[in-house]
Every structure is written in C-alpha cells, then in structure tokens.
C-alpha cells in the first residue's frame, strides 16, 4: 500500500467538497429548511401511497372511490372495487374531481359584498352576519341546495323545520319525471333500479346511460356485460331510439332516428304489439289500443314494420327499455317515462331487468318547478334571505326563469361554495366550502347500502375553507335547532351510530363497524325491500303525443355533456380538454347539424352560425355530425360560463339561453325539448379545437369488425399473427420460430442486444376488447391523472397539440339518420403500442427512445433533445410533444402531480409508458415480499378506470396471465402489424356487429 491517499478516501473528500460546492452554488433568495419527520405520522411512509375510501361528489350517482394520497396530498381517485355502484371503475368526471380540490380559482377566504365589490372578512364575522340575517328573516328564508348526502340533508331539513322557511333541492340533471312516472305506473315514489347486465335486448329511448343518465359508471359495466360478446359468441343487442345519436347511441347496434318527442308513442306502439301478441297490459290495455304501429309511424318518422319487429324481439327475449333521459325531457316527459315503464311491464321485465322495488336513492329527482316557485317568491319580495349550497341556478336556469332579477330583490343572499360561480357572484356573502375530498359526508345510493365520505387530506392550505356541515351546524344552533355540540364529523358519527343501532347493530360494536365502514368505504345496514309492484292505472291524465315546440325551424336538442355534466365540470382543465366522446371537440361549444343540412345551407365545418330561438340566441361553430336528424340540431350543456374561474369563463356557450324555462306539468321538470331554432350563418369561421383528423378509416385495417355470424363460424382472418411471435418479442431475444424464414418472424437474432437473460424478463402487453369499449374516455383522464399529463388549452388544441397519452380514435362506419337501421361507430383507444420493432427507437439520435428488457418502449425525458423524429416515424401517432412548458400550472393545481412520474419540461417528447411506475412498484413490492410477481398484478391506470373492463394488462409471456388468454381470442389483431412489422404489444379484439361488415384484410 502506498502512503498516499486511498481511492476511497479521495472519493469521500471529493464527495464532501462537491456537496459543499453544490450547496453554496445552489443558494436561493429564500432559505428553505428541509425537515425530516422526527416523529413520523402514523399513516404516512414517505414514498408509499396511503389510500382512503370516499364517495365521489361530482354527480349524484354516488360512486364509491379510493383516494390515493402521497405524503399527505391526494393525487389520484380510483373506483372502490368493494362498492356496488362504481365496482372499481370511475368516469372522467370522477377523476377530475382532484382538479376541483386543487383548483386555483377556489375561494380563499369568506367574502362580503360591499360598494367596492367583494371584500374579505373573517370567518367569525361571516358566521355572525349569516346568523343575524337569517335569524332576522324568520320563515322568509329559503335554502337552495343540490342533491346532498343523507346526514347533511337531514340537518338542512332540520334547520328549515326549526327556523321556518323552505328548503329546495335543485339539480339541473334531474329525473323527476321518471320518479313521477314510477309513482303513477307502480304506486312507488322512487327512481327504480335497472339490471342491464341480465338483458339480451336493450332499447334506449334516448337515455344516455353511458354518459350522464342516473349512474353512468355502473351502467358502463353492466352494459358491457350485456352487450359484449361472451365466450359462447353470444352478444346482447342494443337499439337506440332518439333524434340524436349520443355516445350511448354510438354504441348501439341499431339506431332509429325518431322525431324529437315521439319516444312515448313508439314505446306505447311497441307495448301495443306485445299486447296484440298476448301480453298483459293490465290497466293500460285500453290506452294502448289507440297506439298501433301504423298510427304512430307517421309521428315517429319510422316505418310501422320496424316498430313491429323491434316489439316482437323485445317480447321474445329478456329485454329492457330505458329512457328517455334529460335531453328528451319535453312537455310529455312524465308520459314518456311512463310509456317506457309500461312497455317494460308489458314485456314482463319488472322483477327481472327492471327492479321497481329497489330504490335508486342517489339520483336526483329535484323538481324544476320547486325552484321556480322560490324564484317567484323572491321576485314578489317574499324572501328575506336565501342560502345556496352545491348548486348554481344563475347559470343553469334559462333566462326566462328570471332568476337574476328575482334574486336582486332578496335582502340577503348567501352562497356556501367551493368556488365563485354565477350564483355566488350575485350573493352578499360568500363562504368557502370544503371540497368533498376534505370533508365529512355520507351516501346512501341504494336501500341498505351506506358509504362514508371521509376527508382524504388536510384541507388545502391555500384556501381558508370550513366544512359545510360545520357552517350549517353553527347556523342551526344559532337558530335554536336542537343539535348537539361538536363538529359535523361528530354529528355524522352520532347519526351513524343511531342507524347502526336501528339496523340491529350488525358487526358488533359501533367503533368496529365505523372503522370497517371507513376502511372498506361501503357497509350494508339491513333494510326491508318491498316486493315488485304491479302496474296500476295512473291517477292523472297524461299526454303522450309529441309536444309542440316554440318557434319554427329545426328542433333543438339540449343534452347534458358527458364531460362537463350540467356545467359544474367546466372549471377543470382535464374535462375541458378531454375531447368530447361524440364530436371529439374540446374547450368550446358547437352545434351538431346533419352534413346534408350543413351542405344545403352552404356551410362548412367550423362556420360560425347564430342559433336563434324565440327566447334567445347563441353563436357557435357548426360541427357536421351524421348522427343527428336533418331537421334537428343539438347543443351540449355545461359550457358558456361567465364567472366560474379561469378555465370555464368564456369557453363556449350556454344553450339554456335558448330555452323558455317552462316546466313540465306533471313532474315539474324543465322542458329541455322545447324550442325550434333558426340557424343563420354569420360569415365567420373558426378553427375548432379537435383531435379528429378523419373519421373515415378509408378501408384501412385500423378498427376492423366482425359480424357475429362469421364469428360463430370462426371466419375471422386474424390467425396470421401467432401469439408466440409477440411472446418472443421485446427486442431482446430471438423469436422462438417453429420454422424459419417467415418475413414477419422478426426481430431477427441480431436484434438481441444487451446482456439480459430473456427468461428473467416479462413481456408487458395489453389487450383491448373493442367490443366492450364504449369510447367513454374515462381512461383518457385517468391516464392524465396518473401520469402528470398536462393540459394544453384551447389555442394549442386548435393547432393539434393535445398531450393525451390515450387518443380515443373514433371512426364512423355506418351512421345514417335517414332510416332506422344498423349503426356502426368504431372506437379505438390508441396508445403507445410498445412495438417489438419500434420505428421510433432507431431514429432517435440520442437514445431517448429505447427498448427495455421487459419489452417496454421507454422514453428518457431528460435525454430527449426534441428532434421529433420519433413522432414523425411513429405510425400510430401516439407520441406527443411538449411544445411549451405546459406542466407549469398555477398553484395549487401542481399539488396533484404524481411524485412517481416525471413532470415533463418543454421541448421533450412523451407518450404512454404502460404506467411503468406501477410496474416497478409492483415488482419492488414482490421483491420485498420475496415472491414472484403474479401475472395480473400490475394494473395500469386506464385498465383500473375502465367501466367496461375492456382493457387487460399483464405479462404476455406468462400463459397464465389474463392478457395472454384474452389475446388468444380469434378476434385479436394488431394494428398495421402486417404492413409495417411493428409487432405491437397492444392486442385489439375486434368489435362484433350484427350487420354484415366490409371485410378488411388485417
């Protein structure tokens, strides 16, 4: 040994001095102290996620969720697999609830209106002011809320009971007519439950059950079970009757483009046919007499024979009729709902697919008329104080309702809200509410089914918010309502203890029960369910005929948006940027018009038109859409906000401005189908923010389909790609060739590089069943949440620069609005195919795109210099580029970022990574537990989120894995593999149709 410095010592000195230099060099203006956990919180392990069960608050379906938190911050929402409503899946809006939590436009402190606009005040001042004014109002007080959980709802009801006044529930997307129709037809004042999974023929009278109707996630799963082809090559049929093809309709096998408002008479005519064929219609037999298919054919705009055939099929199988949904609610809304219920009853579906005994308690049946009564009272000066919580009538009501003016004559208006909105902007006092993810609450979506919504994190410190329940508890106490001391948390727990005791104390003592409820997110408390009722005669007269519409011109369909819902999703950039599943447009509004109409008017796509009804007008660009009748136009709800934060304001138009604001007579619902509109060109044109290039696949083998008859005979030319090829792939070992010489048997042996032992490595692969995929785009947003995919905004999207890792391609194969017949829309979630011989890899000059030993197509963001050659050479066009620093989002929106995934800077390429962080996390977990990783253990975000369970992921080299088994299906194909030999790791399973499809050689 020499006496000089040893190598190890040298390195130590180097390290220490280097670190010192680094510390000095990195001095910033602000000295930040990094404090380790001296006493670590019990449930936080740095680097390991903690999950809390909760309930989604984005719509009133009541999906159970699991919220993933890291180091105390909520970063992802997933469906709770224990929960019978969500069953582990979640929709796009549920995922985006995180952006409500971290929305930079949330209220930061209580505010009071003064001469100079809103001024911040303290919570103490605010609460005493609230109490003083509400107490002063006495019974001249109204409490307007959305659909709330049972405990909060009871508290609110208690307040008005004690203090006088009135509580009104108001939800723009309300199923009041369905509830009223159920009462009329069956004597039960409930919203019934549907068991779609058991149906072989589903007929939807415009119900968009995959988007907004009642419980989209739950229906997404049961629809997939009913409608996708099973292992015996059986497949349920789905017929959609509506003037406009919604996303739900695009998943139908047949579309009857009936006249707007004629749903009721068609349903009655179908029941008529069934009765003629011997079915029992009970008290409705006389009513049905008049509605023969011939009699309604003219009115509905479809041939009588078609109605007859459908009716016979409906009677012959296990069937289910659904509808009509919010968009079809017109002056005959209750009658239409009743007609559909009667049709179900006549076909014998009550008790099998239609469950009238079990109540759907989650869905809102708020009556529009209740609110208009309050508005009238306000206008008369009959109200002294109004409190709004969880609802935004100033935005959602048509101007004809006169809400704004009426509110002006109320002495004291209070909004308890997370964010400034159109209603809060008119109020005198605005109180920042906790987000559902920071707050206590509960849900009771079905009889006996209970969930607790627990806070998943400490309230976001940027916002001085208070729990809604605490605000109302304080108010209740001040008003003399007899509520115990303590917080709403304690109040909620006390109510649960009562319920637990009342249900016979299942599961022993309450503490254990409570903990179990918190842990699993869902518990059952036994409740008696009555037997299925029989049809009964309605106790009031109903009009089934098509309602007459105001004005002249084309009928206007105003439908709820699957992205923005009734408008409350508009403040979330993920939802604004999510391409609409139907039109693929984002950020702005559009009017859907049939291409023939568009051509006839001399318009083109993107031309701005003025849509004018007798009640108002809006200016929107034209989207030529073959899925809408030529005499009908459609505009989506949810856009056109004026005071709802930076992401919502000025984006699109609010079609409610075109509606009269009239209520249906029976159930009091808002008439959505109420006007005809004139469409006038303005001479302007705008570039639309869309991801859609062409919706015609030009006979290319991208999204092929197979007719079910061919499938049964085994005529699917898909066997040209033996699975072994893919199993051998990965780029690191030669293909196990049964015989040599096939050109597609690449990669050749020289493609093996690196010293990897192929036996040690899996080959990650995915299978996507296009027969199940409904195009709902939940995966798109789930992926955004998981992988820190940035939103780019309207201008960038207009240039074609969306960053989504999943592009939900949509091709129109057969969409014809002129006749009832087959409809064929193909959805194809296009993600990085993780090709075995990836075209992107060799062209990268710096090895930023490279192949991992387990077959992943890796992308090293830090190495990328941004030549974009890889994206040019990607045949699937799944590589997206950070043209600007899109990841730079306003605080605290960045709190959502997943710490396991790099946040990408400008100038780098990115794409789907197969959720490599989840793969590594599972692998590490398996290593820690000294076991072999299971074949199906890794679940990427898209698969996790998919309500239809269309996506399967795993190690395809393991024959036990589900992905290997699913990929054996005869429907399997890989996009463009034969043409360009990319050897994708994503196996698609063809869509199965009932009608013949043009064969495309794949």
């Amino acid at each position: 040994m020499s006496d000089g410095m040893k190598r190890r010592d040298f390195l130590k000195v180097l390290g220490v001095s280097g670190a010192g230099a680094g510390l000095v060099g990195c001095s910033t203006d602000q000295v930040e102290k990094l404090m380790p956990y001296v006493v670590p919180p019990e449930d936080i392990t740095p680097g390991v996620a903690t999950w809390y069960s909760s309930v989604c608050g984005e719509c009133s379906a009541g999906c159970g969720t699991w919220v993933k938190t890291r180091e105390g911050r909520a970063i992802k929402v997933e469906g709770n697999p224990n929960h019978p409503v969500s069953q582990g899946a979640l929709c796009a809006r549920g995922h985006a609830s995180l952006q409500g939590l971290y929305n930079p436009d949330r209220l930061r402190e209580p505010m009071r209106r003064t001469e100079a606009g809103f001024q911040a005040i303290s919570w103490d001042e605010a609460e005493s002011l609230l109490l003083e004014r509400v107490r002063g109002a006495g019974n001249r007080m109204a409490l307007v809320t959305g659909k709330e959980g049972p405990t909060l709802s009871a508290l609110l009801d208690g307040i008005v009971e004690t203090a006088g006044g009135r509580r009104v529930e108001y939800e723009p997307l309300s199923e009041a007519p369905l509830r009223e129709a159920t009462r009329l037809a069956f004597g039960r004042d409930i919203i019934p439950t549907y068991r779609m999974e058991d149906a072989d023929l589903i007929v939807s009278f415009g119900a968009d059950f995959l988007e907004t109707w009642l419980s989209p996630v739950e229906f997404g799963r049961s629809f997939a079970q009913a409608h996708s082809v099973d292992s015996d090559d059986n497949k349920g049929r789905f017929v959609f009757l509506s003037p406009r093809l919604s996303l739900t309709g695009q998943n139908a096998d047949e579309w009857f483009p009936i006249q707007p408002g004629s749903e009721a008479v068609v349903a009655l005519a179908m029941a008529n046919v069934l009765v003629r064929n011997g079915a029992d219609a009970g008290p409705y037999a006389d009513l049905l007499q008049a509605y023969t298919p011939d009699a309604v054919s003219q009115d509905a705009g479809i041939p009588a024979s078609t109605i007859e055939e459908l009716a016979i099929a409906f009677g012959d199988t296990t069937s289910l009729a659904l509808g009509p949904g919010v968009a079809a609610q017109g002056a005959n809304a209750t009658a239409t709902n009743l007609a559909v219920l009667v049709l179900n009853a006549v076909a014998g579906n009550v008790g099998s697919t239609l469950d009238v005994a079990t109540e759907n308690r989650a869905a809102s049946s708020a009556s529009h008329r209740d609110l208009t009564e309050v508005v009238e009272a306000m206008g008369r000066g009959g109200l002294e104080a109004v409190i709004f919580y969880g609802t935004n009538p100033a935005y959602a009501l048509p101007p004809g309702a006169g809400f704004g003016e009426a509110l002006g004559s109320v002495g004291f208006k209070v909004a308890v809200t997370q964010q400034m909105d159109e209603t809060a902007a008119l109020c005198d006092l605005v109180l920042p509410a906790r987000h559902p993810m920071e707050d206590w609450g509960d849900a009771n979506p079905r009889p006996g089914l209970w969930s607790i919504r627990q806070p998943t994190m400490v309230p976001v410190p940027h916002f001085d918010s208070r729990p809604v329940g605490d605000v109302f508890l304080t108010l209740a106490r001040g008003l003399g309502h007899d509520v115990p001391d303590g917080s709403f948390h304690q109040y909620l727990q006390a109510r649960w203890e009562e319920r637990h005791a009342a249900a016979g104390a299942p599961g022993g003592d309450f503490d254990a029960f409570w903990r179990e409820a918190l842990r699993t997110g869902v518990v059952t408390l036994a409740e008696d369910v009555p037997s299925q009722p029989a049809l009964q005669a309605p106790d009031r007269a109903l009009t089934f005929e098509r309602p007459s519409l105001d004005g002249d011109g084309m009928a206007l369909v105003v439908y709820p948006s699957s992205r923005l819902g009734d408008g409350r999703g508009a403040n979330k950039p993920w939802l604004q940027e999510m391409p609409d599943p139907v039109t693929k447009l984002a950020w702005h509004s559009w009017v859907e018009m049939h291409p023939d109409t568009v051509e006839e008017m001399g318009l083109r796509r993107g031309d701005m038109v003025r849509v004018r009804s007798p009640h108002g007008e809006v200016e929107v660009p034209v989207y030529p859409y073959p899925g809408v009748r030529t005499d009908t136009v459609a505009i989506s709800m949810g856009a056109g906000h004026e005071d709802y934060g930076r992401y919502a304001d000025g984006k699109g138009v609010n079609p409610m401005r075109l509606l009269p604001g009239s209520a249906e007579e029976v159930a009091g619902s808002l008439n959505h189908l109420a006007v005809r509109v004139q469409v006038e060109p303005t001479g302007q044109w705008r570039r639309m923010a869309t991801i859609e290039g062409s919706s015609d696949q030009f006979d290319r083998p991208i999204a092929p389909a197979v007719q079910i008859d061919d499938l049964r005979e085994g005529i699917v030319d898909a066997d040209r790609y033996p699975l072994y090829q893919l199993q051998g792939g990965g780029g690191f070992l030669p293909v196990p060739m049964p015989e040599q010489g096939e050109p597609q048997d690449f990669p050749p042996p020289f493609a093996q590089y690196g010293d990897y032992d192929p036996e040690q490595h899996p080959r990650w692969a995915m299978a996507i069943d296009l027969d199940k995929c409904t195009g709902c785009s939940a995966c798109v947003v789930a992926c955004q949440a998981e992988n820190n995919v940035a939103s780019v905004g309207e201008d960038q999207l207009m240039m074609g620069r969306d960053l989504h890792w999943i592009r939900m391609d949509r091709y129109f194969e057969e969409v014809d609005a002129s006749r009832p017949g087959p409809v064929d829309v193909r959805f194809l979630p296009m993600i990085c195919q993780h090709c075995g011989t990836a075209p992107c890899e060799p062209v990268c000059p710096v090895y930023a795109a490279y192949h991992t030993p387990d077959g992943l197509n890796g992308q090293v963001y830090n190495r990328c210099v941004g030549t974009r050659y890889c994206a040019n050479n990607c045949p699937y066009k799944v590589r997206v580029f950070n043209w600007h620093r899109f990841s730079d989002v306003p605080e605290p929106l960045n709190w959502q970022y997943n710490p396991d995934v790099t946040v990408r800077d400008e100038g780098v390429m990115e794409k789907c990574s197969f959720c490599v962080q989840r793969i590594r996390e599972r692998q590490n977990q398996a290593t820690v537990e000294s076991r072999v990783l299971g074949p199906d253990e890794v679940i990427p975000a898209c698969q996790q989120s998919c309500p239809a369970e269309a996506i399967v992921f795993g190690n395809i080299r393991d024959p036990e894995s589900r992905v290997a088994q699913v990929s054996q299906d005869q429907r399997t194909y890989r996009v463009y593999d034969i043409l360009i030999n990319t050897q994708p790791a994503v196996n698609y399973l063809r869509k199965v149709t009932f009608h013949p499809v043009t064969s495309i050689e794949v």
Binding site: F698, R700, I702, R807, L828, Y847, W883
Partner: protein, 459 residues
C-alpha cells in the same frame, strides 16, 4: 471591341479579355470601395440577421411551440429550409470538384462564387438542425463526445448520419474553397495597401504564397486530391439527407429513389441558385467579359438535365405510389396532388417541371434575364418540393384519425427569411473581401501574353 482573334485558345471562353493584367485589375477592383447597392443589400442582410436573432430568441425563450408545428407534422418549414440550403450547397462542390476532374473548362469563371455559395449555404443549413430542436441547449448530445456516462449518440439514427455528413461537407468544402483562394488572395494581398487590416487578412490567409513553381506544384496536387475527396461528398451528403426521410416508415418518405432524386434535386437547385446570384453580380460589377453567355448556357444545360431527372423522379414517385397498392401510400400522393396542400404541389410541379422546359431553347439559355427569372422560379419550386415532401407526408399518415394540417407561424417565417439574410450577409462580405472570380484559373485559359506589361504576381 478588340477581340483576341489571334489567340484562339482564349477566344473560346473569354473573348473579351485582353491581358492578364486586365484580369487582376478587373477582379481586384471589385474589392475596392463598395457602391451604394452593396451597402443597401448589406443593410438588408443585417436586418435579416436581426430578424433571425429575434425570432430564434423568441423561440428559445417561449418554446418551440411558437412555430406552427403540431403532433402529426413534427417537421415543417425548418427542415424544409434545411434541405433547401443543403441542396443549394451542392452546386459549388459539383462545379469546382467534379467539373474540375472532368476538365470542363467553363467552370473557371463561376466556380469561386459557387464554392463560396456552398460554404455559406452549409453554414445556413447547419443552423436549422439547431433551430428545430425542442431543447437546443442540449444539441451537443448529438456529437460523440467523451463523457463520464459513456453515452454515445445512436449511430443507427439518420439524424446522427446527418450531423456527420453536414459537418464533413462543411469541412471539406471550406478547405477546398480556402485552398483555391490562396493564389488569388496573394494577388489581392500584393495590391492591397501595406499595413491595412485588409492587407493583414490577405497576408494571413494566403499563407505566404509567392507563386513559385514548387508552390504551384503542391497547390495543383492538393487541389486535385481535395477535388477527388470532395467528389463523393457531392453524392453522399444529399443522399444522407434524403435518408432522414427514406429510412423512416412514413408514407411518402419511405422510398428507395430518394437518394438519387435528392442529389439531382440538389444539383438542380444549386445550379439555379448560382445563376440567380451570378446574374446581378455580373451586372453590378460589369463582369460580362468573365461571365459570358456561354457560361450561362452551360449552366442552363446542367440545370435542364438535372431538372429532367427531378421531374422524372416526381412522376416515378406518383407511379410507384399507385403501383405499390398500399392504401396509405396512395392516399398520401392523392392528397399531395388534390388535398389540402395541392397548391404547394402544383407550385413544385410547375416551377421544377414545366418552367425549365423553356431551357430546351437556345435563345432562352442565352438570354440572361430569362435565365434569371427561370432560376428564381426553380429556387421557389425547390423550396416547395421539400415542403411538399415533408409536410404533406406527415400530415396524412397511416392513421386517418390523427391527420392534421400545419401552417407555418410568423416566427418560422421570420427565421426562414432571416437565414436568407444570414446567407447573403456572408455572400456580400465575400464579394467585397475575396476575389469572387478565380483570377489564376481564368489566366490559365487565356492566351499567354507576348510580353509582360509589368511584373506578374500570380504567374
């Protein structure tokens, strides 16, 4: 005008030049005090460089998103202009090296300007790979420099080949240019006033040239070897550039004819640019004696030949797209001719295919104004050729749902226009500082004088 009819050898190329001394005077006179037009043009060029600096600065600060590029069309005006300039750069080496080896004597008058153009065009082209990067500050990662992480560039990537091809070409063409300049700079040095900056510059880059036999001997050898070295580069550089496209799997790019097609196109555009540049130089400096219509005729013929090759390649591309039977390939070419970018394609076909037909006529080839106009059209057409190849192909690939169109943004146009300023800035400096016509070589083809009027420096 006295023509040297008794000296038939010189009469073939430069009938109006009477003596060696006249050559020296005429050419070196060009390096004297510049005229008004030179200053105006220089001012415009510097303004162009300013625009380039501003636009590029804007892009670096605000991200490459200030361009009009998008997801299917990842390359647009930048790569178009890159290929355009690399193409322009081809004529210089062709004229100086290939024609030198083939002993085409008409090259003497034009090769210096063509070579200068080559060097400056490569300097311009070389900016674009930097400009189009998303993270230009990491551009050095494309070079195989030794680093602690043992990371190399990906030698399989055509972009890395590009780096080598372009840098090699720049090195060799610069050396070739500077080598050929030595005797002429020495002549200029001897006429420059002692002690001036100009004199010192000439002194340093003439490397002590005295015109001895020994020096001439070495010079001749070196020139020949460099010409032989440069000749394959004429073919290789643009072949490599074409492989940026041909090696991909993009329909409309992935075709085997790209290398010869691009080389022919490069020579076509290069010669056209030489004509475009020489016409005003000839006019402004009164070089009619040196750049005769015969020279232009020869260049026009070369232009015509390469133009025909290029047009043939266009037709072949369309034919092969149809003959391949590949739907995506067919769709790309259908889209080229009749789709969103039909106008670009028809500009390309008209400028490069139809207009050069006029060069069949001798009267056109001998008409300087006609040539100037035609070559301007060719320059425009060749820019659009690259635009058509790059943009239409990328916008219309395999997945119809991902199709999209691209429109260049103001920043991109600023950069494209700015690099013309950058190119002409160097070009203008060149004609002021270095002899733009090869003095020594012109003399080679002139008839030897009866007796020297004064001591000849160069020979």
């Amino acid at each position: 005008m006295a023509t040297a009819t008794d000296k038939p050898r010189g009469a073939q190329t430069h009938p109006d030049i009477r003596s060696y001394g006249e050559v020296n005077e005429d050419i070196i006179r060009m390096l004297d005090r510049p005229g008004k037009w030179w200053w105006i043009l220089l001012g415009m060029s510097i303004a162009g460089i300013g625009l380039l600096a501003f636009s590029w600065g804007n892009q670096i600060i605000n991200g490459i998103g200030v361009s009009g590029l998008n997801t299917p069309v990842g390359w647009g005006a930048y790569i178009t202009t890159f290929v355009f300039w690399v193409g322009i750069a081809h004529s210089g080496t062709l004229i100086s090296a290939v024609l030198f080896l083939f002993r085409a004597r008409w090259r003497q008058s034009i090769y210096r300007a063509a070579e200068a153009m080559t060097v400056f065009a490569v300097m311009t082209a070389g900016l674009y790979p930097l400009i189009h990067l998303g993270r230009v500050w990491h551009a050095y990662w494309l070079f195989p420099y030794p680093n602690q992480r043992l990371l190399w560039p990906n030698f399989a990537s055509p972009l890395v080949w590009d780096v080598f091809a372009v840098t090699t070409y720049f090195t060799v063409s610069s050396l070739f240019f500077l080598l050929g300049l030595i005797p002429d700079i020495a002549a200029a040095r001897d006429q420059a006033k002692q002690g001036t900056l100009r004199h010192r510059l000439y002194k340093s880059i003439s490397f002590g040239w005295r015109g001895t036999d020994r020096q001439w001997h070495h010079f001749g050898k070196a020139y020949l070897y460099l010409a032989a070295l440069a000749t394959p580069l004429v073919l290789s550089v643009h072949s490599v550039v074409s492989w940026d496209f041909a090696m991909s799997i993009v329909p409309g790019w992935t075709t085997t004819i790209f290398a010869p097609y691009f080389v022919a196109g490069a020579i076509f555009s290069g010669i056209a640019m030489v004509i475009t540049i020489l016409v005003p130089i000839r006019k402004i400096f009164g070089l009619e004696k040196y750049l005769t219509t015969k020279h232009f005729d020869a260049m026009a013929k070369l232009c015509l030949v390469t133009g025909l090759v290029v047009f043939y390649a266009y037709l072949t591309e369309f034919f092969m797209a149809w003959y391949s039977g590949k739907p995506s390939e067919r769709a790309v070419f259908w889209n080229r001719a009749f789709g969103h970018y039909w106008w670009a394609t028809w500009i390309m076909l008209t400028c490069n295919g139809i207009i050069p037909i006029m060069l069949w006529f001798k009267r056109v080839r001998y008409s300087i104004p006609a040539l100037f106009v035609i070559t301007l059209f060719i320059n425009i057409g060749m820019w659009f050729e690259r635009y058509v190849i790059i943009v239409t192909s990328l916008s219309h690939e395999y997945i119809p749902f991902a199709w999209n169109v691209y429109r260049p943004s103001a920043t991109e146009m600023g950069i494209v226009i700015g690099t013309f300023g950058w190119f002409f800035f160097w070009m203008l400096l060149f004609i002021r500082l270095l002899p733009p016509v090869a003095i020594a070589e012109i003399k080679e083809v002139l008839p030897p004088p009866f007796r020297p009027k004064k001591k000849e420096v160069a020979r």
